[in-house]
């Protein structure tokens, strides 16, 4: 793993990325010659209409998918050159994912859900417990550790999802519509939390959203339309 870039150096470098999906005989060009640089410590909002390729771009940055052409580099690591196994280990160490539908495992309690990424580390049980307690404390859910997802509100479930994303202290947080399934009040609380993680803990965050209210919380917003990025909203 390359050294971490200096503060305000480029953490995410998407260079000339193209993504084509094949459906039968048809090629669907989702992203075309896309360039994006995200400095370390930035809170970036990524907006665009449905089907514009926001989630696809997020997947490429997070190493969940591979570009058809171009390269994705995170902290100097060329992600698309890693093998599947290396990529899994890389994601475990460097990426925290926050999903729209929380994606918690319903059979596990909040603390067990948050512990999941730590199972892939060499931490002892006591150390894992300590990390989980810290992460749940950061999201304000220290009193709900033994609850299952069905016993939590949508906002609380998303907080658990954020705790799971930050428990390994990742380099980059990727949030796919984190407030998309929440009411305004709960959504605001989640945005407050993400803002605090960015400002107080220096986390670099890329957030996909439809909601201008949410994007207003980010330091910068870019717009994706027909596979191309711009700094101006889509007309």
């Amino acid at each position: 793993m390359n050294e971490q870039p200096q503060k305000n150096g480029v953490l995410v470098d998407v260079d000339g990325v193209e993504k084509v999906f094949h459906r039968g005989s048809e090629d669907i060009h989702v992203l075309s010659d896309l360039h994006l640089k995200v400095p370390q410590g930035e809170f970036l909002a990524l907006m665009g209409p449905s089907g514009s390729g926001k989630s696809t771009l997020l997947n490429l940055i997070g190493g969940l998918d591979r570009p058809t052409r171009g390269s994705v580099s995170i902290a100097g690591e060329h992600v698309n050159e890693l093998s599947d196994r290396q990529l899994a280990a890389w994601r475990a160490r460097h990426i925290g994912f926050v999903f729209q539908l929380y994606n918690l495992l319903p059979v596990l309690t909040a603390e067990r859900n948050v512990e999941l990424p730590l199972l892939l580390t060499h931490l002892s049980k006591a150390e894992r417990k300590q990390h989980v307690a810290t992460a749940l404390g950061v999201v304000g859910l220290s009193h709900r550790t033994k609850h299952h997802p069905r016993q939590l509100s949508g906002g609380e479930q998303q907080r658990v999802g954020i705790a799971r994303a930050i428990v390994t202290d990742p380099t980059l947080l990727l949030c796919d519509e984190p407030t998309g399934d929440l009411d305004r009040k709960a959504g605001d609380e989640i945005l407050d939390l993400l803002q605090a993680l960015n400002r107080q803990h220096g986390k670099t965050i890329i957030m996909v959203t439809h909601d201008p209210h949410a994007s207003a919380r980010a330091g910068r917003t870019v717009y994706l339309n027909k596979g191309q990025l711009s700094d101006e909203p889509v007309k």
């Binding site: 998918d65 599947d84 994912f97 495992l105 049980k125």
Partner: protein, 388 residues
Amino acid sequence: MKFFHLIWCNLKRRKLRTLLTLASVFVAFLLYGLLCTVKEAFTAGVSMAGADRLVVRHKVSLIMTLPVAYKARMEQIPGVAAASHFTWFNGIYKNEPKNFFGSFPVEPEHFLAMFPEYSLPEAQKQAWLKTRIGAVIGRSLSERKEFKWKIGDRVQLRSPIWPRKGDQPWEFEIVGILDAGKKNVDTSGFYFRYDYFDEGRAYGEGLVGWYAVRVKDPDHAPEVAKAIDAEFANSPSETKAETEGAFMQGFAQQIGDIGTILVAILSAVFFTILLVAGNTMAQSVRERTEEFGVLKAIGFTNERALAMVLAESCLLASLGGLAGLGLAWLIAAGGSPVPSMLPVFYFPTKALVIGVALVFALGIVAGILPALTAMRLRIADALRRQAA
């Protein structure tokens, strides 16, 4: 071990489905254990048969008798080390047909020398030699709950085959208890002195049921058997000599090929159970497509996803299977439900080990296809499926 909690919780996700699958696996392995026990009960004689022993019976049928004088002639045949005779007495206690057990008049010293797998304390042996009506009984017979016989007890038997002169019951005094070094040796027999029997029976003096013959070299047992049959060819009582193992096998096969029946039943049971367990695992993985996507997104490798599903499948199989094997073992340890018919009744260790191997084989075979599905699942596809 740190993944055990996750695997265990996944198994509890659909409790009813898991319980029904567990019950199916449990019943299958309980059946396996009991069938192996019954097979052993029918074929124990084959496995305990001495390689250096022959059984010599009447050529026509086992129920026809042979002269007692054959013993001396057989011992003259080259290759024969010793001979000892037996007769099927068919003794019944208190005239109750259910109080039936194997009972045989024998010559004590020759009998004990012929079957070293039985042990009898020297004092009890001497008591048998001194007591004309003395009988020694096997350990399992002495422990039958309807008898609870002990040394010193006097026992009266009647035999529908060999009535006593004057139609009196045969009277015996128990002077010894036979033990066996191995659990597959039948200790349900009742042995008493031939001289007492021969003088007391109403007819058939000088006749015996069959002979056990020890050969000097087990490698030459077939040649010795031929020599014995040749010795008595063209006599009023021609013989059929065969190894003890072949004799026992033929005896067991009178009620059918137990091994083939067992394999046929278990094949059907295991095939069905494989479908049940495989379907459970396939459904379980299909329901969790998005969860596998999330686990992989946070860093679980494809191989780890495969291992988790296989571990879950093996846990499911082992919970049900080992419980089934355990109960079968307990039932067998409780003793034969029909000691008169199946005196040797235990779950063989070899069958238990094979059963444990089958448990894990079931887990792996039932889980392999769902595990491969989980392994090959692409993260983006799994998460996209949820969004759709």
